[in-house]
């Protein structure tokens, strides 16, 4: 074994983060590390990379015990890490980043020519040909990710840890990244792959290890395990009923649409589209990143102003030119990037939950403290938000719980039309299933939902109708039994057929 971890333990005040965890990594394998948030994945990785010191257990690299005290030491030993938020310097050039700390020198000065040549040569191994003299920040996240990998492999070269590397990449970029990872595997590196995306785990990994509550649950060859069993390992319970057959209950809709958007569009952003929303309906919006999914939501919620079109309900025309008007019209919107546009990190869970309601009432009509606490307690219980107290700053919660807080903010408003933009991105499997269950429940009471998602399974499981967006226009609509992963992929992938499948 290239890397062996034996009965590793790590304790923090109040929690046992890792208890006697064993983990093996062979040279030339991709080993996925899975678990819900708080299962101990990051602690394990931090013990490996020297960010934390372990309390007990041993780590063997090439059979020799190691005890890295810092990330620099771990790198020198051969263990390199690439994080989701790339830890490079965006204001230096690609070449400077690649050779940082080990710049080629000539007469004591940095030899820029040699530096660039070296960088180009390094990147050529990954089939990347870019201008290495430009600032790293000028390139896409995918390129930055690859530069980070190139640097980590160059410095370390035995073990490569990829921590959620694909969270902000689109499908094509993921493909590129995976081909590079496979190449590195052939070169004999041991690769630890941490991801929430189970599809990617099945596609890329040779073996997988599941952690739960700080203990190792299982290590198996990926091809010997199926998705359902994997999820039940991760959650510690059977999950069949949440993962499938959710759509059965939500068929009998009244025929008259609750809301109608006609020829809504904005030049250069998205072409005019029509959208009818029925009571209690779940409408999915599928498409690649940048296809116009989020833009559709932003137009409806008034984040961007529409240049054409109008919205109507039973009572006539409604205005939704900015978020305040949209909220007054009974809309709600949980944005894609909950850290940037969703939560107010330093305010408490309670204040975050009541924020929209309070804003709607106006500053002069404050909710009483008792009322606020009642609302907060209600939604903390209803959505199973894991927090030690309603007065804890929301920024200290895990991603899934933050998402639930933003959801609670809108549920407290009781909107008639709720737009959820990637509600399950970057959150663990358990919270994922719960959010899908929630969508199911709220729509039963008549709320309509527009669900934007990159995960086809999710759309198939939750939606009554799926609209496919490509190249900034709504190109197809699937409903009922026609909603399958294959059909959605087909509609997304079909160039030139746009005009034919329109408004199917």
């Amino acid at each position: 074994m290239l890397l062996s971890i034996r009965s590793l333990s790590k304790e923090f005040p109040g929690t046992k983060a890792l208890q006697g965890v064993d983990f093996d990594l062979a040279a030339g394998e991709v080993h996925a590390l899975l678990g819900e948030n708080g299962a101990g994945k990051s602690t394990l990785i931090k013990c490996l990379t020297g960010a934390y010191r372990r309390d007990a257990g041993e780590i063997l690299l090439d059979g020799a015990p190691i005890d890295p005290a810092s990330t620099a030491e771990a790198q020198a030993l051969g263990i390199g890490t690439v994080y989701q938020e790339v830890n490079l310097l965006p204001n230096l050039t690609v070449a400077q980043n690649l050779t940082f700390g080990r710049e080629p020198r000539r007469f004591g000065m940095v030899d820029r020519k040699a530096q660039s040549a070296k960088a180009r040569e390094l990147l050529a191994q990954y089939g990347i040909d870019i201008d290495v003299e430009r600032d790293l920040g000028a390139y896409s996240v995918a390129i930055r990710q690859i530069v980070a990998i190139a640097r980590a492999v160059e410095i370390s070269g035995k073990v490569l840890i990829l921590d959620e590397p694909t969270a902000s990449l689109d499908a094509a970029e993921v493909k590129m990244l995976f081909s590079i990872v496979r190449k590195l595997r052939e070169q004999g590196l041991g690769i630890i792959f941490v991801s929430h995306f189970l599809d990617q785990v099945f596609e890329l990994s040779d073996r997988l290890t599941v952690l739960r509550n700080g203990r190792k649950i299982v290590t198996e060859r990926t091809r010997d395990i199926d998705r359902l069993r994997l999820i039940s390992y991760m959650l510690g319970r059977e999950l069949e009923e949440t993962a499938r057959e959710q759509r059965t209950a939500s068929n009998s809709k009244d025929q008259k649409p609750m809301l109608r958007f006609e020829q809504l569009g904005c030049k250069g952003v998205i072409e005019p589209f029509n959208l009818e929303v029925g009571k209690g309906e779940v409408i999915g919006l599928a498409g690649l990143l940048g296809s116009g999914r989020t833009e559709t939501a932003e137009l409806i919620f008034g984040v961007r102003s529409a240049s054409t079109g109008a919205a109507q309900d039973d009572t006539g025309r409604i205005s939704h030119g900015n978020p305040r008007e949209a909220i007054a019209a009974g809309f709600g919107f949980t944005p894609e990037d909950r850290k940037v546009d969703g939560i107010v990190a330093e305010l408490s869970v309670r204040e975050n939950i009541i924020l929209a309601l309070q804003a709607r009432r106006g500053w002069a009509a404050p909710l009483s403290r008792a009322e606020q606490e009642r609302l907060a307690e209600h939604y903390i219980r209803l959505l199973d938000i894991r927090t030690s107290s309603a007065d804890k700053p929301v920024g200290e919660l895990s991603g899934g719980n933050q998402q639930k807080v933003v959801l609670a903010r809108w549920l407290a408003m009781n909107p008639r039309f709720l737009i959820l933009d990637e509600p399950t991105r970057g959150i663990d499997v358990g919270a994922h299933a719960e959010i899908l269950r929630l969508i199911h429940e709220i729509t039963r009471e008549g709320m309509a939902v527009l669900l934007i998602s990159s995960e086809l399974d999710e759309l198939v499981a939750a939606c009554d109708r799926v609209i496919v967006v490509r190249d900034r226009r709504h190109v197809a609509q699937l409903s009922g039994d026609r909603i399958t992963s294959e059909a959605i992929v087909h509609a997304i992938a079909q160039p030139g057929a746009a005009s034919h499948t329109e408004a199917a």
Partner: protein
């Protein structure tokens, strides 16, 4: 109430220490007398002279809570003072003079607020514009002279007293209490904090961030105009060049010493008020303790530095770390000697 008290405990301790330090050099600091019409003594003097910085601090706290800053308040003081002096000498009467001066402050705040919230200029740059140009405006109003007046009613705002307590003291305490109650008894405080922490998220949740920002800068202009009236009334004249000069910096300092973050978010007006008292106690204390006046600014700087270092969150982390080391060592010693 308990929560507020816990929040401002470090500031209260700091104030106590500064007072203690002053009494070491000037033992009569707490001596209070009554001269027939009013209380006199160093403490009364501190409470009176903190009025301008405390008033500016009320508005500045709100502006800083929205992740902004208002550099123009010192200048707005000069403008409002000039307007008040001009109005009273032109025969508009007390109400007219005060009303016009406050109106000028609100107008200045509206200008700043629009530049920040609508045009989208960085607050430090937006308010710098009025900070520099405003003194010119004040000079235009006073026509370049020191505009003196003798109206006793307006002068009362600077040197009068009610029940023996100086009017400026009553004004700043009342302003602070009213604004603090307005913030905490309505939802304004929370909405301002939400806007300061994350304007985008707040706007998406339906908070009217634009209006809120403008209102906050207008509140700052309002507070600055009150400070300007007090300063002008105190010397019975409007000095466009020197009224409120550099006071914006003292106001920011009061906010910071009060434990409010310059990055916006959670704020405490009570904290800022104690910050203003700390600054004025240092000022008065240095004068009373008889150091040569050329030392004043240096001593003040050293004291402020010490206070800020002691309040630094980095230092708190270091302190906890040291404490844990000592604890661990003790535990080791104990386990080795059973």
């Amino acid at each position: 109430m308990g929560q507020t008290f816990r929040r401002i405990t470090p500031q209260l301790v700091t104030l106590a220490l500064v007072v203690l330090l002053v009494t070491v050099f000037f033992p009569n600091f707490f001596a209070i007398g009554f001269d027939g019409t009013r209380f006199v003594g160093p403490v009364v003097d501190v409470l009176k002279r903190s009025a301008p910085v405390a008033l500016l601090g009320v508005g500045m706290t709100l502006v800083i809570a929205t992740r902004g800053i208002d550099l123009s308040v010192g200048t707005v003081m000069a403008i409002s003072g000039a307007v008040a002096a001009w109005a009273i000498t032109s025969g508009y009467g007390l109400a007219g003079a005060v009303g016009l001066a406050i109106g000028a402050g609100l107008l200045a705040g509206l200008w700043n607020g629009c530049l920040v919230a609508i045009v989208g200029i960085q607050p430090i740059v937006a308010t710098l514009i009025l900070m520099t140009s405003g003194r010119g405006i004040a000079q235009l109003i006073t026509e370049g002279r020191i505009l003196t007046f003798s109206d006793p009613n307006l002068a009362f705002a600077g040197s009068g007293s009610v029940l023996g307590i100086p009017f400026p003291t009553i004004l700043w305490i009342a302003t602070a209490v009213v604004v603090a109650l307005l913030m905490r008894r309505t939802a304004l405080g929370m909405l301002i904090e939400a806007t300061g922490i994350n304007r985008a998220a707040s706007a998406l949740a339906g908070v009217n961030a634009t209006v809120l920002l403008i209102a906050v800068y207008m509140a700052s202009g309002f507070c600055a105009s009150l400070a300007g009236i007090v300063a002008t009334a105190d010397i019975r004249g409007a000095d466009a060049n020197n009224a409120g000069l550099w006071l914006e910096l003292d106001a920011i300092l009061a906010v910071v010493i009060g434990g409010n973050s310059l990055l916006g978010g959670r704020f405490s007006i009570a904290g800022t008020m104690i910050g203003a008292l700390i600054i004025q106690t240092i000022n008065t204390g240095i004068m009373l303790s008889g150091f040569p006046s050329e030392y004043n600014l240096v001593i003040k700087a050293v004291l402020v530095l010490v206070i800020l270092v002691l309040q630094s969150p980095n230092l708190a982390a270091d302190w906890l770390f040291l404490k844990s080391l000592v604890k661990a060592r003790r535990a080791n010693v104990r386990s080795e000697t059973p």
